[in-house]
Symmetry: C2
């Protein structure tokens, strides 16, 4: 990280070297170097190492910093252990200008981050009245008692500024030392998120030099990573050096991430737009959205555009599709409701399925999937309806219909289409895969594409 | 990590020092030292650092290794960058016996782990016929075309053994070098999981010395971290040195994790059992389960025990409770189905809600929540029914009923109980919090506790 490199390129905008964290401007009389600020995240928590807890904080922080033009160059996860925290702090402080620590700020004995930070900076824990008043205020609204542990949360390193944690008792800590910044945040995800957005980002906004780093995501569904790469071979072989393409596959979807670096925002943005257009043209129908738009948001957008309404009948997906649809704010504009018809009697009574269909073809059949979609559409009086029926596993399969078999159907006023997939990666993944594919079938019907 | 420590303790079973990775046996004529194997996980992926992708692989690997008695002492996340991969490999190889790498084994240009590993071990990429046949076989079943990129997946470092990736084209890699083990796995979660379970663990099982590390989780709901800590003060102050207690809070739940180290499994197990019993007695009704049992599994267990059936009417939770319930294998034994009644007309037509209730009290009211629970229970003919109605946000709140207000109700043959909460941490968290609290109300009704 401390090596220097000389730019030999003659690109119009120069290039940005992620490894060295340096932007090189080229093609002029002299080479200029622009240092940018980089960050390292230290995640403290034995529970993260042992796998008890899934760390989502560092993803949130990474995304936010990245979008602000501060790349995260490393994450280090270590236990609640003084020696290891000290070592990681020292390493991170050497390698990056900004160090963000999460975890270990809680009120219980296993939380040692605060003490360790104070020692690392040769400082002491001192009582902070403002933090104490905040803890008192929070507890007034939540619990009647104030414990000794809560009082200890008002002790912070003398060298630190307390960052107001609106949603919890442990304050964030901000330490500036020798032109470097160390920030410690509590491990509770919504507290970290709130502190990052309300306190940390506004602070950092004043600290870093401007340069341009633009990400563009192209979201596809229905084609594998290597087949897409094959289709994009020409485009990829001719990518300019300051644009990178990465393939991020997840359960039937592949997200293509383009990252462009440069100095002039307008030029880089234009360059990225041209590449995005080429890829979009090449992949056409398998693209459902861009950037952060998830499939369920795409569905909402399509339904809103058509002023159309949706109902869902879920058997094997058990409410997951409804959950995806209702996770989008404002979904009541197009979503009326669902029936989760787990038992056959619910399929018959609530969706009006003919018992003979279940007897003759079974619940997991094209006939039943289509009847479910038509049934819920009529019953809930919607423009579109979606239905799923399958075997999520791990039990319930047969030779003819193995675990992982799913039929799904989409009905509109004029037609009903259906599709079968067989996919078994365990119950939870199966449910997710079935749901995503069912939504994709609805997408194709609305857009009238194959 | 390289320091040594002398055990001064006279505990019966000695103690295990996580910082030093050494087990100390005490209280005998001589001190013995048992080295155990430790692991470091290296996560490779620029997309993980930028926050595009949530890393779940390292949680899965950590949990599995931890349960096998191999503690993970560090995780390092770095970009797809040769210099940083080499540096992390070298650091990890110094500090632990086992290094597990995930990511960067895919077929596209941004994946450089394989090449970097070959160079690091002064080896070359060679063609592996077995891997090639496997890739061909996989593609036969999935896609008709075999691309050049897929062929390249059969190239592996000469110093490595290929681990068969049943679910994907990129093989795992196993390298043994100077008594250390380096394992590289692809970044796709289900492939990593499968390779860990089917290939890596059986291999490691023969390699490490036996010692005992037992985890016990006590899962609580409804009381905050510091209030629980207050109740457990006496127990915590008197914990033996070889047992650690950690508090892991998440949205209204707190998981208490006890970790016990020692040499004799039976003794450590007994010791842990006694502590677990003391805590269980102290916290009684707020404990819903132990170890990996999640609240939805607890619900399944309780309903199965009673041979009782369940139906759900969800408004603001939009299918999430149904999804939780149906994520448990075998839930068809007790779960009949749900209605997600997003639109008021669905509440009226499908749940039989009296229009006057909606007019007089509004959809978000105790009266409506109770009527919804009773309505779905009658309609679906179940022993218990659960209903939710609220404002998940971000819009739709009022002064009287702010965003985050939720009424939920549980109905049985003999009674209906309901509860209101106000909690706003953003739509997704609100939906989760409402759902967890609704399930807890059902738990209390079934167990007849307050």
């Amino acid at each position: 990280m401390s090596d220097q490199a000389i730019c030999e390129s003659s690109l119009e905008f120069g290039f940005w070297d992620l490894e060295l964290g340096i932007f090189f401007e080229c093609g002029n009389l002299h080479h200029l170097q622009y240092n940018i600020m980089e960050a390292i995240i230290i995640i403290i928590g034995s529970e993260v190492l042992s796998g008890e807890t899934l760390d989502t904080n560092s993803q949130f922080i990474g995304k936010l910093l990245n979008n602000t033009g501060i790349p995260v160059i490393k994450k280090i996860t270590i236990p609640d252990d003084k020696a290891m925290i000290t070592q990681a702090l020292s390493e991170a402080n050497d390698q990056a200008e900004i160090v963000i620590i999460t975890g270990g700020l809680g009120p219980t004995n296993d939380d040692i981050t605060k003490k360790t930070l104070a020692e690392y900076f040769n400082s002491k824990l001192v009582f902070n009245k403002e933090v104490f008043e905040h803890v008192k205020e929070l507890f007034k609204n939540r619990f009647p008692q104030l414990t000794k542990l809560n009082e200890e949360q008002a002790m912070i390193p003398a060298c630190a500024t307390a960052l107001r944690n609106r949603l919890g008792t442990a304050p964030g800590l901000l330490i500036e030392h020798l032109n470097k910044i160390v920030i410690a945040l509590p491990g509770v995800p919504y507290e970290t998120q709130n502190l990052m957005t309300e306190e940390v980002l506004p602070f950092l906004a004043n600290k870093f030099n401007k340069f341009t780093l633009i990400n563009k995501n192209i979201r596809t569904i229905g084609l594998g990573e290597s087949l897409i790469a094959n289709q994009l071979k020409d485009i990829e072989d001719n990518l300019p050096e300051n644009i990178k393409l990465a393939y991020l596959p997840h359960l039937g979807q592949v997200k293509l991430r383009l990252t462009a670096y440069g100095r002039d925002h307008a030029s880089v943005s234009k360059q990225l737009e041209l590449i995005t257009n080429s890829i979009s043209e090449q992949l056409s129908n398998i693209i459902y959205g861009y950037d952060d738009e998830e499939l369920q948001e795409c569905m909402g957008r399509l339904l809103k555009n058509e002023k159309a309404s949706l109902s869902i009948a879920e058997s094997c997906t058990g409410g997951y599709i409804s959950h995806l649809i209702t996770s989008i704010p404002g979904c009541s504009d197009y979503f009326k409701g669902s029936v989760v018809s787990y038992a056959n009697e619910i399929k018959i009574n609530e969706l009006g399925i003919d018992e003979n269909i279940l007897k003759q073809f079974g619940a997991v059949s094209q006939e039943n999937a289509e009847a479910m979609a038509q049934g819920i559409r009529n019953r809930f009086n919607t423009d579109y309806a979606l239905a799923t029926t399958g075997i999520a596993g791990p039990d319930g399969g047969s030779a003819e219909k193995p675990v992982g078999t799913c039929w799904f159907a989409v009905a509109s006023k004029n037609k009903t289409i259906s599709k079968k997939i067989v996919f078994d990666r365990g119950r939870k993944q199966n449910i997710e895969f079935f749901s995503i594919n069912a939504l994709n079938l609805l997408r194709k019907m609305i857009l009238e594409i194959e």
